[in-house]
Every structure is written in C-alpha cells, then in structure tokens.
C-alpha cells in the first residue's frame, strides 16, 4: 500500500498527490513516469513523475476518466494499492546551451523536473507554460523559480501572452539561437508546437502518453511509430525525437477505448462512489 501524504486541487479538475513510494522517489529522474493501480479493481495508468522529495513522489493529473476521477477524491492518509516506477528512459539532459521547456495544460506538470535538471546541467533555461485560461494554469511559481526566463500564454488572453506556446517559441527561434526544446502536453499540442522547430533543425523532444498496461515492455499496448519504426513508449520512450513521431497514429490509438471509458465512468457514477445513494462495489 502506498500512502497519500498530501492531496490538493491546483486548478479546475487538476489535482496533485504526493505519494510515499521510496523505491520510485529515490530513483526518479526527469522525463520518467510511474504506473498506478489505485485499488483492487483498478486499471493501471501511467502518470508522469512531476517531482520527488525524500521518499515521496508528486503526480499531477486532470480528472477526466474513471481512475483520475477516483484519484481526485483521495485525501491525505488514503492509500493506493500499487505504484511502480520510475518507468521509461530519463530525459536526455546535458549541456546544450539554451533550452526551451514547454508545458501545455496539465502537461506543465512534467516541466519543472526537466527544467531543473537542464538548469543543473548548465543550460540557459527558458520556460513556456501554456493553458486555455488563467484558472487552468498550474505550477507558475515553481517554473518561475527554476527558469531563467518564463513566458505564460493563455488561449483566451486571461493571463500572460494571448495565444499559443507555439507562437512564443516561433518568436524565440527567430530572435536567438535555441539548442534544444522539450514539449509536454496533449498530443495535438505537441504535434503543432514541434512543427515550429522543424524548419530550424532544433532538437526537439516530446513526451508521449499512449495507453499502457504493464509499462515495462511486456504488452505492446503503447506502441508508437517513430521514424517509421514501431517503438514501445514505456521502455523506448516516453520521450522521442518530435520530428520523427507519427502523432496521428498516436492520437488514433489514444482513442481506442473511448466508448469503454464512457461506460466505465457511467458504471462508476451509478454504482461505485456511493454519492448518489447506490452502493454496489
């Protein structure tokens, strides 16, 4: 059992948990993830490791499905059945020169740990945090404390620059020499944003988030096409060269269980939580 040490809501439907998992926390590096199975009947879902501190790790997620919905109800002192990690290859951090670390939406969760390690490796680190509006923006202070420069963008202009992270990136690329870029966010955002760096030939990493089961290279559920080859995101990634990734295939595979997810949430709502008076679990 894995103890929830802290639980908090960061934004609309966005939550953070600090979970005690020594074997994960002690080995976690930027870019890696963990797999959580919340309870005995639970599914295994991957979540990026957003930070680690002593024996605890932090995960940040948006409550959109059955498992994330359940996780969002957890309080300090609650427990999770299973946590395994850190999984996947760590980010390829080294001294590049000037790096840009971009987070989109809840993907911002992955950026402080990357920015921090990049900074420690001697890079000039520029952060870009993009969200739909100011209420969905997370970890601004944390990124501001780590990065040499930080840009905030919102789709509706309610905070920072009115527009997308991609526009800020484009401007930066025009103005100065950028040596490496990380982009973490929804697949469509990573696709669009990484297209910006393509003509400049700037090394660009994206962190892919396909559906996984074991997360250890055993099932192939997370296979993605990179440079025309099939790769397993769980062991070959999750970070890949953005300009080689087939995002359309990724997005299609992410939607494989859309109908089942609806059924699952429905089932959960009408039989699991007890909020509406029916107890079936």
């Amino acid at each position: 059992m894995y103890l929830v040490e802290e639980a908090a809501q960061l934004a609309d439907r966005v939550f953070q948990l600090w979970i005690r998992a020594p074997q994960v926390a002690r080995h976690a590096r930027a870019g890696q993830f963990l797999i959580v199975r919340a309870h005995e009947n639970g599914e295994r879902i991957p979540l990026t490791i957003s930070a680690s501190r002593g024996d605890a790790v932090r995960v940040i997620f948006m409550a959109v499905g059955k498992t994330t919905g359940y996780l969002s109800t957890l309080k300090k002192g609650d427990v999770l059945s299973d946590i395994v990690g850190p999984l996947g290859k760590p980010s390829e951090i080294k001294k590049y020169g000037t790096v840009v670390v971009i987070g989109g939406g809840v993907g911002i969760a992955s950026t402080p740990i990357i920015a921090r390690e990049a900074k420690e490796a001697g890079n000039h680190v520029i952060g870009i945090c993009g969200s739909r509006n100011k209420d969905l923006l997370i970890l601004e202070d944390e990124m501001a404390a780590i990065c040499d420069e930080l840009f905030i963008t919102t789709d509706d202009g309610s905070k920072g620059i009115h527009g997308f992270a991609a526009s800020v990136l484009e401007q930066l690329l025009k103005e100065r020499k950028i040596d490496c870029v990380w982009i973490v966010g929804p697949a469509i955002m990573m696709k669009v944003t990484s297209n910006v760096t393509r003509p400049y030939g700037v090394r660009t990493f994206v962190s892919l988030n396909p559906i996984m089961v074991d997360g250890t290279g055993m099932c192939g559920s997370c296979r993605v096409t990179v440079g025309g080859e099939t790769k397993f995101a769980c062991v070959d990634g999750p970070e890949f060269d953005a300009h080689q990734v087939d995002f359309d295939s990724l997005m299609q595979r992410q939607r494989m269980y859309v109908d089942e997810e609806k059924a699952s949430v429905e089932h959960h709502h009408h039989g699991g939580c007890g909020c509406c008076g029916s107890e079936q679990r």
């Binding site: 074997q23 994960v24 080995h27 890696q32 199975r37 009947n41 639970g42 599914e43 295994r44 059955k66 498992t67 059945s81 299973d82 946590i83 395994v84 990690g85 850190p86 999984l87 089961v213 074991d214 250890t216 290279g217 055993m218 099932c219 192939g220 559920s221 296979r223 096409t225 099939t230 062991v235 295939s249 299609q252 595979r253 939607r255 494989m256 269980y257 089942e260 997810e261 059924a263 699952s264 429905e266 089932h267 959960h268």
Partner: protein, 447 residues
C-alpha cells in the same frame, strides 16, 4: 477441417479439466509397473522421483506422495496442469509403448489438490546461512530458484515488477487452464519458506543494477516477456493486440469483468489469432469466452502446430476455427480493424527444426472479416535489465548466455528460464532454475 462436431459453448473461465477422483487416482497408479530402471524420471526436467510418488498413490498415501514430489518441485498443482507430460514423463513411460502411459500428470495434480484441501505442509529448510540472494522475476523460474535457495538456508528476496506474483502463470495462462487461486496457494507456500516477494519493483528502474549486485548472488528469471510483432501493414490499428496484451488484460486485470473491473478489452465479434503455440490457443479460447467467433491462422500444417494436442482439441471443441497453411500479410481498416488479409502457404523442404519451410503462394490472398486481431507469434527476453548489465553476454535473440550451471558471464549472476533458453515451457524454466539454485548454493558455501 472437422465439421459436424458439437461445439462446447463456454462463457465462463472455470477450469475445463476437472481432474480425477481419489479412487481413479489409485487405480491409475496401480497400473505403474514400478520399473527397475524407470525411464519416466529421465523425462522430468526437475527430476521428480516419479515411481516413488506413484507407488505412494497406489498405496493410498497421498500425503506421502505429495511430500515426495515437493522434494523436487514446489509447484506440483501448477505442473500437474500445465506440463506437457506427453512429451516428458508420460512420453517416456514404458507402458506407452503398447497402451496408454500412466497418467503421471493427472496423479501429480490430484495429490497436489488433495494436499491443498487437507492442509499444506512445508518441506524442511536448512539452517540460515546468513547469505542474501536476489531473484529477479516471480514466474516459474524465479519461484523455483527462490524456493530452492530458501530451503538451502539463504535469505531470498524476489523482485516482481507487476502488482501480483507469478509471472506468466498469473498474466499469461488463463484461469480455465490454471486457476489463479492455485497459483496463489503455491506462491504462498514459497513465501512460507521465508522468501520475501517485493511486488511493484522493476529491477533496472526501481532497483538499480548496483543495488542488485550488492546481494551475495543473483538469479535472473525475467522470462520472455517482449512480444514479437509481425511487422505487417495495419498493425497499429485499433483492435490489434499482442497475445501478451490481450491475455494480460483478461488474466491479470480481469477485463472480462469490465466495467466492475476498470480495465477494458475489445471483445470482438470476429477475432483472428495468428500463431500455433499454446499462447495462441490460450488467446483464441479467451476470445471465445468473450463471445467472439474465432479463427486461428497458422502458417504451417496442422501436424506442425506446436501447441499441446490437448489444447488444440479443447480449442476446437470450444468452437475455434483453425486455418492452417495461411499467414496474415496485412491488417485492413481505417481506424479500427475490419479484416485480416491472409495468403495461402505451401510447404517446401524441411528447415533446421525438421519442419517444412512455409512459403507464400502468389495471388492466393483472401480476407477474413475481423474486428480484433491477436498476434501470438512468440516472445523474446525483456531487454531492459539485461541491457543495464552490459557485462552479460547475450546470444542472437537477446537471450542471456549461461553455462550448464546457469552461470552468466557476470560473476555471481545466474539466469534460468526463458531469459536464458528462449521461450519454452514452465517446467523447463523450473528445471534450469533448480540447477542454477544448486550452483549458487555451492558457490555461497565455498566462500
């Protein structure tokens, strides 16, 4: 194809083979000739004293029989179910020359089940040696190595990356062939020997190579968990699974009980499975239970099917259509699988394995309607840990190179089971693990 055979409509995951009664067990055991030079034992990869236990069954001493087995095999209820006895002990039985061999597997299973119902007893263990051994993986090889090493008196820690122990016994072999409560009961026995199993520990990630090598000795039983894909067009369409994924979703995650359990699986109205081994049969039979019409496509002839005869028979009886001499060349669909395009195969000269080498016949392509396509064409060793120990020599397919004792090219590190031999059977994994455990014990005692 055999038509007009009654199809057994199965929708549950209860065990298909119900075993034999005590009375029948005694009768069966009485058939044993108690040969002076028994050949059955030579056919057993873990060297169970088969004549002794069979004679004990004949005398009605079931407790004695199971104790005899457990001297050499801590997982008798599992082996009694999944061992290919027809090509091992029973295949070597003298009676088999003229009539049916003694049903050694059924007897092993019977006494193991009898013991589980009547209270399990533990074999003796040696005094604590003060030495620590790490075992990586809790499948058949890891469990066997762990049990042996614990009985030798060593402190054993098993690292398992999943949330349940058992490896392929848990995620791979379906309940209807190997009930999970039996797997759990036999794993409990291993734990009662003093073995500590740390779940959710992926060695190479949650446990660093240095931490692993800080033990006095290491046994790698990481299995063959990396699924091979055919590399054909359309393979990443929604609805295409490796057999590993399909079976894991159902066996480990209970997707058959979705949405009561959270993990979904595509049930499929028309399921195509490619492959001819036991894993392919398992996947096909699971797909049948999930309600699909199932076609299994195999590239060689029917007589070349590598699966056990009994599994092929069960698959057929449950309504799996087996199409031989055919091979998928393309998965057809836009987003989801709509059909599997196959080509007919002709058999040419024999290859190095003594089987005919199949080659595709031009313009013989045909479509099988499908919404789920499962590839069961084999597995290789999971490369993660092995790649983190660069001192380990590896053979062509990534298998860890070991000597006759299971010793790898890295001092104090041994390996057994599929990671060393390539994908094989549960009992071969156990046999190689047992040898490695004995070798580890020898080096630890010498020091």
């Amino acid at each position: 194809m055999t038509a007009s055979r009654a199809v057994r409509e199965v929708r549950d995951f209860n065990e298909v083979n119900r075993g034999i009664s005590a009375e029948n067990a005694v009768f069966e055991a009485l058939r044993c000739l108690d040969c002076v030079r028994p050949t059955c034992v030579t056919g057993c990869p873990v060297g169970i004293d088969i004549p002794a236990f069979v004679q004990q069954v004949a005398a009605g001493d079931f407790a004695g029989a199971v104790a005899t087995i457990k001297r050499d095999n801590m997982l008798p209820a599992i082996c009694g179910r999944v061992c290919p006895q027809e090509s091992q002990c029973e295949g070597a039985c003298i009676l088999g020359k003229n009539e049916k061999p003694v049903s050694i597997g059924a007897l092993e299973r019977f006494v193991a089940d009898w013991e589980r119902e009547h209270g399990m007893t533990l074999p003796g263990t040696a005094a604590p040696s003060g030495r620590r051994v790490a075992v990586v993986g809790s499948g058949p090889a890891g469990l066997t190595a762990a049990a042996e090493l614990a009985r030798f008196g060593h402190a054993v820690t098993v690292f398992e990356s999943l949330h349940e122990a058992g490896g392929v016994l848990t995620y791979g072999i379906p309940n209807f062939r190997l009930p999970k409560e039996i797997v759990r009961a036999e794993i409990d026995q291993v734990k009662r020997l003093g073995v500590e199993i740390r779940l959710n520990h992926l060695v190479g990630r949650s446990v660093s190579p240095d931490e692993l090598l800080s033990y006095d000795a290491v046994f790698l039983g990481t299995g063959a968990g990396l699924p091979y894909f055919m590399g054909i067009e359309g393979e990443n369409l929604n609805g295409v699974y490796s057999a590993n994924e399909f079976l894991t979703r159902v066996n480990l995650m209970h997707a058959d009980c979705f949405p009561a359990f959270d993990t979904p699986v595509k049930r499929g109205c028309n399921v195509v499975v490619v492959g001819g081994g036991n894993v392919a049969m398992d996947a096909a039979r699971v797909a049948r239970r999930l309600g699909g019409e199932v076609t299994l496509v195999y590239r060689r002839r029917e007589e070349d099917l590598p699966a056990r005869a009994v599994e092929i028979e069960n698959a057929r009886a449950e309504g799996v259509h087996i199409v031989c001499c055919a091979n998928p060349v393309r998965v057809v669909g836009e987003k989801n699988v709509q059909a599997v395009e196959c080509v007919r195969m002709s058999m040419c000269e024999l290859d190095e394995s003594g089987r005919p080498k199949p080659s595709s016949i031009e313009e013989s392509n045909f479509l099988i309607e499908a919404d789920v396509f499962i590839e069961a064409i084999g597995q290789g060793p999971n490369p993660l840990l092995v790649s983190m120990l660069p001192q380990l020599d590896r053979a062509q397919r990534g298998n860890v190179v070991v000597d006759a004792d299971g010793q790898t090219t890295l001092a104090r590190v041994y390996a057994g089971g599929d990671v060393a031999t390539g994908a094989a059977t549960v009992i071969w994994a156990m046999g190689s693990a047992k040898k490695a455990a004995a070798a580890i014990d020898r080096i630890l005692r010498k020091e």
